[in-house]
Subunit: 116 residues, 2 copies
Amino acid sequence: MKKLARMTMLYDFYGRLLTKRQQEIMEMFYEDDLSLSEIGEEYSISRQAVYDLLKRTEKNLEGYEEKLSLMDKFEKQQGKIVDIGALVTELRKTGNLDLLEQIEFIIQEINDLERK
Amino acid sequence: MKKLARMTMLYDFYGRLLTKRQQEIMEMFYEDDLSLSEIGEEYSISRQAVYDLLKRTEKNLEGYEEKLSLMDKFEKQQGKIVDIGALVTELRKTGNLDLLEQIEFIIQEINDLERK
């Protein structure tokens, strides 16, 4: 995953565990596309200070994922649901009921994921 | 959900954000079924101190869920996957391909959940 996409997702999952200031800086940088200097002006701190804050915040987010792996679990689940969708589409087209067994297998895999 | 089930699930989701001591006490109480007094003896602290620690820990876990709602999201997703499983079983039994539309609808609902 590209860094921007990963940070956006991690922020989506764990952002509410960050401090208000960390949340603001993440949003300015990743959502509003402000530069480090622009964010620095906002808070009257140096570009370098913003950089350090951002790095620390990203490390916090990665730390949450390292501990909880909830994003990874969601991603895997999401992938399997896409697989079910594709099989359903194929079943619709072909009427091949043998595909139901594959769908059941994937549902079982999802249930196994939940239990980990 | 019953309190025991809820605490076990919350601990499963967010336990790794707790301190080592909090984790130990949660496991002794909820997994090993030790009494407050028994846990107190383990740490040479009073029954009341264990109670307070446990309450605080439960509050921390509820706090994580209040902020992140990830357990709630997982639960909803899980419910929908059970629904898909039931429809697949029915489809298998009846061969009624109209059920595919319902399955696709639920897949869409799951995708909408992910985006929230």
